[in-house]
């Protein structure tokens, strides 16, 4: 009886093969040559501005996200299952952001949400994820008070008061100047301007000699730029997400250096600035042309994939996915959203910078992690200046 069961050598061979296969997959976990993740994908939602005024931020972030998705899946995904990032375009509009967030969270049943990248859209999408305590990470700085109460919406770019401080540090300590002019838009620019006013008391030496505002999508700001020039500042801060103000500054022949906020720093906007992308200093985190030591690996991988140089938003896109995946790996497969959200509330080491999501501003970045770049004839160079304390 037993003989017949073992009788056929073919069957014995088949059984042993299966055992061998089983044991190898169980113990092999070295990422370099692990099997490609297989099976039912884990869906992560992503809302980015692929079109509209915010495309200058959304498109680079998307590249970073896709690169991270590919790398994570190549390294075995999460517990062997691949991740699938479903990217939706909010067309730089909060209504779209709300509808897309609704569809992703309730129809696609994503386990986490990435983006959007502009303030209005973040608050709109946050209204969907916050009640469910869904893990939600955005490539933008914390801007409005309501964001402080949304404990599961983390930020991988500095809050606007940190941006403002970084701008003032350079003007006060690197340039050591007194008279500063400001040209800012009515969205992102408005928020950072509010922060600048709030912290101006800690930089007594600096006086804002002209503050000119223009509406988002304005196409002609020469008159505002002329008003800034008329107050003969020693430097002009431009806080906007478009190339228009930079072109206006050049057209009215303002010769003093321009200090721009991180929101203007992407190759899309540099292209839009044309030849006004010169003598512009930007406090940011990643200068692809001259990266910090532990950013080199990411820069190389990005260049190999897209044959382009990455910047802040590409790195932010990468970090977003890495942190989300780390949370999924560290929590049980059937963990509830709130559990994953709570796991994320810890320090993280990203390509862009180091974070501590436990902070009240749900970001935890330091002023010292800023690097300062300078645009010379459209090319980024990294300045030695760093904030000391």
């Amino acid at each position: 009886m037993a003989r017949r069961w073992m009788g056929t050598p073919a069957r014995a061979l088949a059984v042993s093969a299966v055992c061998a296969l089983f044991t190898t997959t169980l113990f092999t976990h070295t990422p370099s040559h692990a099997q490609q993740a297989t099976g039912e994908p884990i869906k992560i939602g992503a809302i980015l501005a692929i079109t509209g005024p915010g495309a200058g931020l959304g498109v680079p972030t998307r590249n970073g996200v896709l690169l991270a998705e590919k790398a994570v899946n190549a390294a075995g995904g999460v517990r062997g299952r691949p991740i699938k990032v479903i990217i939706e375009d909010d067309a730089s509009n909060p209504d779209n952001a709300r509808t897309k967030a609704n569809a992703l969270v309730h129809n696609e049943k994503v386990v986490g949400l990435i983006g959007p990248s502009q303030v209005a859209q973040i608050v709109a999408a946050g209204a969907i994820t916050d009640p469910l305590k869904l893990p939600h990470i955005v490539p933008a700085g914390l801007s409005v008070p309501v964001e402080r109460d949304r404990k599961c919406v983390y930020h991988v770019l500095p809050p606007q008061d940190l941006n403002a401080r970084a701008l003032m540090e350079y003007a006060a300590n690197a340039m050591k100047i007194k008279r500063v002019g400001v040209l800012h838009d009515s969205g992102y620019g408005n928020v950072v301007m509010g922060a600048l006013k709030a912290i101006s008391s800690s930089y007594p030496g600096i006086e804002f000699v002209a503050i000119e505002k223009f509406e988002i999508g304005a196409t002609d700001v020469t008159t505002q730029a002329a008003k800034v020039r008329a107050s003969n500042p020693e430097a002009v801060m431009v806080i906007a997400t478009s190339g228009t103000p930079f072109r206006a500054v050049k057209q009215v022949r303002i010769e003093v250096p321009v200090i721009a906020a991180i929101g203007s720093s992407s190759y899309e906007y540099v292209k839009a600035m044309g030849e006004s992308a010169d003598n512009v200093i930007i406090p940011e985190f990643l200068v692809g042309e001259d990266p910090l030591p532990d950013q080199k690996a990411f820069v190389e991988m990005y260049r190999k994939e897209y044959n382009l140089t990455p910047k802040n938003f590409e790195a932010a896109g990468w970090d977003l996915v890495q942190f989300m995946v780390a949370a999924l790996k560290a929590t049980p497969a059937d963990a509830k959203p709130a559990e994953i959200c709570e796991w994320l509330r810890r320090p993280h080491k990203g390509v862009l910078a180091d974070y501590d999501f436990r902070d009240a501003d749900l970001t935890g970045m330091k002023l010292t992690s800023f690097v300062y770049s300078k645009l010379i004839k459209g090319q980024y160079t990294r300045l030695p200046f760093r904030v000391s304390k």
């Binding site: 067309a91 509009n93 909060p94 209504d95 709300r98 509808t99 609704n102 569809a103 309730h106 129809n107 303030v119 209005a120 608050v123 709109a124 946050g126 209204a127 009640p131 801007s143 409005v144 309501v146 964001e147 109460d149 949304r150 009515s186 969205g187 408005n190 928020v191 509406e215 988002i216």
Partner: protein, 319 residues
């Protein structure tokens, strides 16, 4: 209203959200909100022959009133609705009094100018409206102990409010005011000669339209929980104009059909990206040229014509 037909409609309406997916219920809530704003525009267009592009202004005022009252001042939501309606009505009266002296193109263009001015001010007065950043975390509405935080619960509340608005507009149109409006529309001079205060009536209807816009804005604020100037652009003003024009300006069912059209068409065409805008533009052109009475109006005409043909005995000339 024919009794049985109405009862069937109510039953279907009550069961619908349990049958449809959450995303479609969300669209039906927006259809209710747009119906209320569209009723106002339909009243002006269908009964007074006035094209208004300023409804997005009053829609925004209702939304901002609710947001400011509940978020900044932490006062109850009902006060937000009331303040929204009063604010819309008062501003409509203040602006309407001079502007409604104009007629035809010039009045329509004047309302467009008002919409543009309001949009620029919503941007600029960010201390009030939050500008592009807007106002977030608007609390959910509570009603008799229920919290209306899901599309399903809000669906019933929004459509009941829409039904009340429809009843009020129906009464207005069926009553003395409605008669005076339709007379004014056909001949302004003849109406004035019959002691109808034409200017006063047009301003009154403009105020009613604005208050309806305010109510729908408040509903929008409490449903989405977030308002920003990007939701109150000129596109929205044209959308509100589309509702009665496509549906049938002179009829209340027409406004409902129009509201359903502009909420579901973008959803059906969402695969094609921004294609729905073209459909709206072409639909407006086709309706204005070929079917001036809108979808419902044209159907009524076909049914009436079919009715006439069937009852007209052969040989008798079509009277």
């Amino acid at each position: 209203m024919r009794r049985p037909w109405l009862i069937v409609l109510v039953v279907v309406w009550a069961l619908l959200p349990w049958v449809l997916g959450r995303h479609h219920v969300d669209l039906l809530v927006f259809a209710a909100i747009y119906t209320i704003a569209g009723l106002g525009v339909g009243l002006l267009l269908g009964h007074c022959g006035i094209v208004t592009l300023a409804q997005s202004v009053f829609y925004a005022m209702g939304a901002y009133a609710s947001a400011i009252i509940t978020v900044n001042l932490k006062l109850p939501a009902s006060l937000g609705f009331v303040v929204g309606m009063i604010a819309s009505g008062v501003i409509a009266l203040a602006l309407g009094w001079p502007v409604l002296r104009l007629t035809g193109f010039f009045l329509a263009v004047a309302t467009l100018a008002l919409a543009m001015i309001a949009n620029a001010l919503f941007f600029e007065w960010d201390w009030l409206t939050g500008g592009t950043v807007g106002i977030g975390a608007i609390p959910k509405l509570g009603l008799f102990g229920f919290v209306l935080d899901t599309p399903l619960t809000f669906y019933y509340f929004a459509w009941v409010v829409a039904a009340i608005a429809m009843l009020l507009v129906h009464n207005l149109v069926a009553g003395r005011t409605g008669l005076a409006m339709r007379g004014m529309r056909d001949s302004l001079d003849a109406a004035r000669v019959l002691a109808i205060d034409v200017h006063g009536l047009r301003v009154t209807i403009f105020v009613v339209c604005a208050v309806l816009g305010g109510v729908s804005g408040s509903l929008f604020a409490h449903y989405t929980g977030y308002v920003s100037v990007a939701s109150f652009t000129i596109d929205k003003a044209i959308l509100f104009l589309l509702i009665p024009v496509l549906g049938g300006a002179a009829s209340i069912p027409g406004v409902v059909v129009g509201a359903l059209f502009i909420t579901f068409v973008p959803e059906l065409l969402s695969k094609l990206g921004d294609f729905h805008g073209i459909v709206f533009g072409l639909a407006l052109i086709v309706v204005v040229i070929a079917a001036p009475h809108g979808i419902v109006g044209t159907i009524r005409q076909w049914r009436k014509r079919a009715l006439d043909e069937s009852t007209a005995t052969p040989g008798e000339a079509n009277k």
